[in-house]
């Protein structure tokens, strides 16, 4: 008799254990091998008929895992036991992109990847490794991301979702500006910027320093608007505003000594954010990634407020100016991936706020589903009161200057860089510089 009573109790015990282990399997990233994981399906996945093994996706991105991506995939993996995403970092330089391209061409299991420039994306579309997203009808990129998203269209199609709001600006040391009695500009020309820099230059302090990434953006601002080539197909690098940019900066380096000479900056690889945050420069031409350092008061102690100004323009009239900005971080799906639907589910989730942990590293979500205030809060963290919030919001959200995304090919960028380096280092005259740029560009345009 005793025996018979024990049997149901034992069965109940076994079942409870089974359920428990099922839940555990769902919560963990591994060992979901007992079928119970399907119970946790939160509806994101669409194609998991036999869910005994979770789908494994690999996402390649250029951001170090600890600056957000790991947190992003951890959240996703916890919520979606049947689609497990692994993040692989590639360094976003020539070698890193080559590694990604090779991995995709040789089917090394890249499912999702992030493009950082339009010219790289074009190469990947050509190679057939970027999935045309119009095959999914359930997500309106234009509506979600706003009009800037269209800059990423190739042949009028989306081959990825632009997820990040780009922000390029001049960061200002508010205390130094106040001291000199200068306003925070909301729109300014390079002549005015030069004037500011001159007034702000002091002993052991530059008026303006520039990060080398957006350094040559003024040229692209002109050429993206008026065309890299003229109507007759020849190079437009002899545009008068290009000469103006070269001469203005050169005068700032040599006559005014209000910005570091380029040769010196390159050979020392001057860490511009360190100089600016350390008070050795009053203005810094940079982008949103400054926030990564400026939020870190332990390594970069400062006691001044940072204000923000839009990037200065070369053209006289405001109406003739477009500025670099728009959206970035184009998340694409490998057209050869066997798990396109699962990858798409992840990409949508990522774009609609799943990427939030990346904001601490300066990456603001572009989707309209993400609340502006929430995004700003996660961007600035506890340090919000060390920034001039009004000017920050102006630069990020209110400035209505039309924008562009850098589209010039690497060859054009490099030949320009080589020639203007020669000029800024005193190796050739302005006439020769423009002549060389035009000649070399024409050679490529043929």
């Amino acid at each position: 008799m005793n025996n018979k009573k024990w049997i149901p109790t034992l069965l109940a015990g076994v079942m409870t254990l089974g359920l428990l282990s099922g839940c555990a399997g769902g919560g963990n990233t591994s060992s979901g091998g007992n079928g119970a994981s399907t119970l946790d399906n939160s509806g994101a996945a669409t194609n998991t008929p036999s869910a005994s093994e979770p789908i494994k996706l690999t996402m390649w991105g250029g951001v170090p895992p600890e600056s957000g991506p790991q947190a992003v995939v951890d959240v996703w993996n916890a919520e979606n036991p049947d689609i497990q995403v692994e993040y692989v970092r590639f360094v976003n330089d020539d070698d890193g992109n080559l590694k990604l391209d090779t991995a995709m061409l040789t089917d090394q299991g890249v499912d999702i990847y992030v493009n950082y420039t339009l010219s790289q994306t074009e190469k990947r579309v050509e190679a057939g490794v970027a999935l045309d997203l119009s095959e999914f009808g359930d997500y309106d990129i234009d509506d979600k991301m706003g009009p800037d998203a269209a800059l990423w269209k190739i042949d009028d199609k989306y081959y990825g979702v632009p997820t990040k709001k780009n922000a390029f600006f001049v960061a200002l040391n508010k205390d130094m500006l106040d001291e000199a009695g200068l306003e925070v500009p909301k729109s300014w020309t390079w002549d005015e910027a030069r004037d500011y820099a001159k007034q702000l230059t002091a002993d052991g302090r530059y008026g303006l320093i520039q990060h080398l990434e957006p350094f040559y953006d003024p040229m692209d601002s002109v050429l993206e608007k008026d065309g890299y080539a003229k109507a007759d197909g020849s190079s437009n690098l002899d545009h008068p505003l290009i000469q103006k940019w070269l001469e203005t900066l050169n005068a700032m380096m040599t006559e005014d000594a209000s910005t570091p000479p380029l040769g010196e900056q390159m050979s020392t690889q001057l860490p511009v954010d360190t100089s600016f945050l350390g008070g050795q420069a009053a203005m810094l031409n940079i982008g949103e990634w400054l926030i990564r350092s400026s939020n870190n008061l332990t390594d970069f102690p400062r006691d001044f407020k940072i204000a923000f100004a839009p990037v200065p323009r070369l053209a006289d009239a405001e109406a003739d100016f477009i500025t670099r900005g728009g959206l970035g971080d184009l998340v694409s799906i490998n057209a050869k991936s066997p798990h396109k639907d699962a990858a798409w589910a992840f990409v949508k989730w990522y774009a609609d706020g799943g990427m939030a942990p990346m904001a601490a590293g300066g990456r603001l979500p572009a989707s309209k589903d993400v609340d502006k205030q929430v995004a700003l809060d996660s961007l600035l963290g506890d340090q919000a009161d060390t920034y001039d919030l009004e000017s920050l919001e102006y630069v990020l959200y209110e400035d209505t200057t039309p924008t562009y995304v850098r589209s010039a090919s690497q060859q054009v960028i490099d030949l320009r860089t080589q020639e203007y380096e020669k000029y800024f280092l005193g190796g050739q005259t302005i006439e020769k510089t423009i002549e060389n740029m035009v000649a070399r560009h024409n050679e490529l345009l043929k």
Binding site: D101, P261, E264, E421, K422, G427, E443
Partner: protein
């Protein structure tokens, strides 16, 4: 019977060299042949459309201004090889005699050769820093008011690279010379001493000719290695400022892996190959005049 044994022996020989040969075949000979075909195409990595363009890549190359600049830079870079060899010879002769802390000095000279290229690049960039770097600090201290800008100017950047490269190769060249110096029989040196030769006469007429096969070896391998190097320049200047430190091998690398122009890059690398070949052949022809076995 005997022929059969020979055949077996030969077969065994092939089996022994097979692992190496397969490696060379797969990773060197086949890719090299492949690039020979590629140089007649407009192949761009990632682009599936490839067509034969004949000699277009070469006409483009011979019109490319950067090609001539990098050719000139390559020649300046190659100058570092004989200089490094001469310095290594001097150091080796000095360290071969009784010098204090001989072993430690040898180790010190050899250190650069086993140090990671990135570390070398970083340290030299600091040393060459025009305003605060120790090299210019020293030059100012001894009374030079306007020391060179080293890596930061177009005129001096290639010289700065040469200095780094000389320093880098010195240790290796020195070790090889030390081995060669051990081979010189002491009878010859003693005989010259008895005949009343001064120390520099001994070096010039006995030591230098006797180590000439080593010098020849170092010259050939050094030039080949140097003409192929680009990693250290990529780490320090990426070919800049302007293109004042772009050498041919870096030019190939940039075209292939930065611009994905594989066809064009293949053409340049074959031109590079012929340059190495010609230099090496000239040396072989010239060796009879000064190399004594």
């Amino acid at each position: 019977m005997k022929g059969n044994w020979m055949k077996k022996q030969q077969l065994l020989g092939y089996v022994f060299i097979a692992p190496n040969m397969i490696g060379v075949l797969l990773f060197f000979i086949i890719p090299a042949m492949f690039s020979f075909v590629l140089m007649f195409t407009d192949y761009r990595f990632m682009n599936p459309n490839v067509s034969f363009v004949g000699l277009d890549n070469f006409t483009r190359l011979f019109k490319d201004e950067v090609f001539y600049v990098s050719l000139g830079n390559t020649l300046i870079f190659l100058l570092s090889v004989p200089i490094s060899i001469l310095l290594a010879f001097v150091v080796a002769v000095a360290l071969n005699k009784s010098v204090y802390m001989k072993k430690m000095l040898r180790a010190l000279y050899f250190m650069p050769y086993i140090t990671s290229g990135v570390a070398i690049a970083f340290v030299w960039m600091l040393l060459f820093q025009p305003k605060m770097g120790p090299i210019n600090g020293f030059l100012r201290a001894i009374g030079i008011d306007n020391p060179p800008g080293w890596l930061s100017t177009m005129e001096t950047s290639m010289i700065a690279i040469d200095i780094i490269w000389i320093w880098f190769m010195l240790g290796y060249n020195m070790i090889i010379y030390l081995a060669a110096l051990q081979e010189i029989s002491s009878e010859l040196l003693e005989a010259s001493k008895i005949d009343g030769a001064k120390w520099w006469q001994t070096i010039r007429s006995i030591i230098w000719p006797l180590v000439s096969p080593t010098t020849f070896l170092l010259l050939i391998t050094g030039l080949i290695m140097t003409i192929k190097t680009f990693g250290i320049i990529q780490a320090i200047t990426q070919g800049g400022p302007g293109n004042s430190t772009t050498i041919l091998s870096l030019f190939v690398y940039k075209n292939a892996f930065r611009y994905y122009e594989m066809g064009y890059a293949s053409a340049i690398s074959w031109v590079l190959f012929f340059i190495i070949l010609v230099i090496t052949m000239i040396q072989w022809a010239g060796q009879k005049r000064w190399v004594h076995y």
